[in-house]
Assembly symmetry: C2
Homo-oligomer: 603 residues x 2
């Protein structure tokens, strides 16, 4: 069975040494609660919960899947009990506002813990995970009464939430939804329609489920300007706010999926279900983005968690499995063969996983500081800057970390050879679970359009400049640092190229809008590599400092430098391919007629 | 349910127009049987069989899997009947020697048909597929009696074959096998041991199963020089050569796998099973490579088939699914939204699939001509050249086509968005089935070592030069052809770079053997892209010729040119990343200590 240790040492490096979380928390209102001791204790307790409670349920949950009987869904064995422990431990309320029953700790802390949950049991993690989006929507857009009724229960975790957006004929294009909400007499709405792909739409973990549903009011404007958001509980709260009458929303069927078998992916049928408007009429899309942005970061963290899980187990196998001799001569002559970690290509795969895990962790923690600032910051300029950077980085966190997470989990299978394909070892499950992360909450293609079209070009490149200026300042400051030249020089070059390339795309896009779509995914991947290069350069600086100051942990810092070097030398060159590909422009994609794609096989 | 049409038009282009198969067949002894009419009729009949018989069993076979009861394995419903039709139709004997009951058609023809089988039902295809390796081993190394007893039955298809190599503690490193073969009195051997990952090791499709088993004789030399090959039938043939007494080999269990659920992957227990030596004692490894090389090409064809299957279905979905408007303005204003094929990024994914399918098909058919020559050629020089090229291309066909096949099937899922993750649509099955192709018959890493270490460097680069000289000649001949300059110029440059880069690796490897392993996978991928670039340039030349000569099928040739351009502009730049990565050398992989990989999480 796969094992997992939360990467506490690496977290300490990134949080305490590299990004100075102690100072960051000290500056946040209420952040003083998050003292280094408290943070360390919470992370250790979270690590224990993930390893001891969630991990043992991961393979069994995958095999067992969910069961739908008479409209009720049973999650796999043990999921309900684990969730009860999770609620008991106060985990759902960790970063929530004390006004709603939360503990008021910074959101970043919940994100760190989320990596551990995703690494040990992604399918389970999606039951509490979906609640965050629902809670965010209610916190930002709900009435006081809605907050008192629903938000407090989501915060304490006794109820869970969902996001009901997709319908059979539309996912990306929500302007097309058909679900209707007709006003009732007493201020509520009768919501009718079918939603698909609803994660945690129905289950037995919580006593009630709070659906956040996109629907159209009668006579709503066409398209996405006519969407409204409704809260539709599974059980209508009674006078005391406890689950009362069963509402008209039921799970029609469960999807059979490639992975995340332990999570119930439901078709939800709304039949004049009683719902309540959240936010203003026809402004549902904005409310939805509130849910969506948090969810997107959450999916990026899923990619990171799965990468780390796959890396740890591939590493253990590579040290254990004896096969062939090192090309340069036996390394373990006393054994029948050398452990496969001696082989350069096995190391290439392990280092790819390691670099993406550590790079992804830096990116998540860097982004998490912006989220803290946006949520709790007091300085208006700092908040505005954080908001811009967060907008820029969100599609990168979501899409880049899931794309490379899929690659990394596949490298994990590859290290195991044929055994990687066998369910028993658990490595193929990580691939199947990772596959959804490139799709849900907006595919990689959608993230890429958001990044290049909405975030970068619509701001005339300003949002990008906020980031490239920061990188530029770093490179300038370290210009004379010979020890860092191997990182800083290529980074400075790339950083400049990033800006120039963006400008060139912007120019082309002015005469042909298709140029944006044609460049988008390669642009996003390019951006992801440069972003990680920046963070690895900072990590290298930190490691160099620790080594020159003297440390009992020199091996850790040397390994960090080796990993940064591997990233720069072996992975960063992929920017060359992405740049050349996107510079080919729209013509390379649009020349062929839609009717001509199939001429090789169509009769 | 997924659909499939055999790419007959594209096959005609590659075989008849580009690679002049009619002339190639006319030159082969016995090849005159393969007249254009006969070939066309066989391909059409094969296409019908794949689509009408195999395709309907693909999803059901995946869901049902195999069942082991009392040592007997039941394949999924319909598999047995489909196999009976396959045998009835004479398909197993198509390319076999008439001396063994075969029809004597060229091997290349069987390879073309194999693409169709793999595209429609990979799991089923592996039941007859494994017979080929076993038949090859017996044909080359078996005694006349063994051929009469076993080979004829494999050829007619009433019996199937297996390759029993892997054991729990060794896959790649077969020198470590523990299975023992002890001489009996009457010339047979008692084979005892456990083999794992035995595809089609036990099933109900055929009346007997012929296991080709690697085992060690008593007092055999250590390691891979002490391996012998044995034929071990499930039922010992009686005096008439019919299945008689049950032999001591049974299926102990079935593996639960990520994909190819319809194929029985068996743990096979040999308990003093009666076996017969094939070839000379202790020369089993050479015999094994006879099986292996054919099997490797076969796995490459699996990657190709799955690519084509995924492409066809993604294309149909992209034309059908309405979502969002084209960035440049509505393309189907009468509909609620535009079909997603209007979006540049969807086209990027479809063209990636298309380029890999058409490129892979050219590579397989190019290689197939070498196989024909090696097997049936009469000109010694031509045979020797074909053998060299075949040795060089085999690891590329195997590893490159499976790596890009995995990418292509994943693009297929991505085109479907969330629906791609749902089993019903069949797209995720193609990914799961494709995943094994990167692993079995030697992982990508092993193929890469074979290519760079064994084929290229051990021949002092000579084998590569045979190929690069051919490319060079092509480039020289087309130098003045302005219409082809967009292909020929970059190809000529890459071709030269390929040789220089190889020399540089060879130099480095002289002082450090690890440099070979450190460069290997990036070298293989680089080689694959350049090889496809050569073939696309030839395709472009052919398309240009057809267009300038005038044709009723101009759209097909223009689409071919568009695909070649897409490959050159969007995929070929990946060589930049592979080249830079491999030039980082062994240091980037070997610097970090084996004990230091886990310092981020180990306590």
């Amino acid at each position: 069975m796969p094992d997992y240790q939360a990467p506490l040492r690496d977290l300490r490096f990134v949080m305490d040494e590299m990004l100075d979380y102690p100072a960051h928390y000290a500056r946040l209102p209420g952040g003083e609660e998050a003292s280094p001791d408290v943070v360390a204790a919470i992370l250790e307790e979270g690590a224990r919960f993930a390893r001891e409670v969630l991990l043992p349920l991961n393979q069994s949950g995958d095999r067992e899947g969910c069961l739908l009987e008479g409209g009720e869904v049973k999650a796999p064995k043990g999921f309900k009990e684990a969730y009860a422990q999770y609620v008991e431990g106060g985990w759902p309320s960790l970063a929530a506002d004390p006004a709603h029953g939360g503990q008021g700790l910074p959101p970043s802390l919940a994100m760190v813990l989320n990596e551990m949950v995703c690494a040990t049991n992604l399918a389970w993690g999606m039951y509490p995970g979906l609640s965050h989006g629902a809670a965010d929507a209610l916190r930002h857009h709900g009435t006081e009464e809605q907050q008192a009724t629903y938000l407090t229960r989501l915060v304490e975790g006794t109820w869970t939430g969902t996001m009901c957006l997709t319908e059979p004929h539309c996912g990306t294009d929500l302007g097309l939804i058909k679900t209707r909400a007709v006003p009732n007499d007493e201020g509520s709405y009768a919501v009718t329609g079918t939603k698909i792909f609803i994660s945690a739409g129905e289950h037995d973990l919580a006593e009630n489920i709070v659906h956040l549903v996109l629907a159209k009011l009668p006579d709503a404007p066409e398209g996405s300007r006519g969407i409204s958001l409704f809260v539709v509980p599974k059980f209508l709260p009674d006078a005391e706010g406890n689950p009362g009458e069963r509402n008209g929303v039921v799970c029609g069927s469960l999807e059979h999926k490639m992975g995340i078998h332990g999570n119930a992916t439901c078709v939800m049928n709304f039949d004049a279900a009683k719902g309540y408007l959240v936010g203003a009429p026809n402004k549902g899309l904005a409310c939805m983005f509130t849910m969506m942005n948090a969810a997107r970061i959450g999916v990026g963290i899923q990619g990171l968690g799965l990468t780390e899980a796959s890396f740890q187990n591939a590493l253990a196998y590579a040290r254990d499995r004896l096969q062939m001799r090192a090309l340069g001569g036996p390394k373990s002559p006393e054994k029948a063969a050398d452990p496969i970690i001696v082989h350069p290509d096995v190391r290439r795969m392990l280092l790819t996983q390691k670099a993406f895990a550590e790079g992804g962790r830096m990116l998540v923690l860097y982004t998490a500081q912006m989220i803290d600032s946006v949520e709790h910051g007091t300085d208006a300029d700092e908040k505005a800057r954080a908001e811009t950077l967060l907008g820029l980085l969100t599609p990168i966190v979501k899409a880049f970390l899931t794309e490379v997470g899929f690659e990394a989990t596949n490298e994990g299978v590859q290290v195991f050879g044929g055994h990687g394909f066998i369910q028993e070892w658990g490595m193929e499950q990580l691939v199947r679970d990772a596959r959804i992360t490139r799709l849900y909450e907006g595919t990689t293609g959608i993230q890429a359009l958001d990044l290049l079209g909405r975030k970068v070009l619509m701001s005339q490149g300003e949002s990008l400049k906020v980031f490239t200026r920061e990188i530029h300042k770093f490179c300038q400051a370290e210009e004379g640092n010979g020890e860092l030249a191997e990182f800083v020089r290529p980074l400075a070059k790339l950083n400049q190229e990033w800006g120039e390339m963006t400008m060139a795309i912007g120019m082309k896009a002015m005469s042909d809008r298709e140029e944006v779509g044609a460049a988008s995914v390669d642009y996003l991947m390019y951006s992801g590599y440069v972003t990680l290069a920046y963070l690895f350069a900072r990590a290298a600086k930190q490691a160099r400092m620790a080594l020159s100051e003297g440390t009992f942990d020199a091996a850790f810092y040397r390994a960090k430098l080796d990993t940064a070097r591997f990233f720069y030398q072996r992975l960063l060159p992929r920017t060359r391919a992405h740049k050349a590909a996107l510079e080919a422009g729209a013509e390379s994609l649009m020349a062929i007629g839609a009717e001509d794609f199939g001429l090789g096989f169509e009769i």
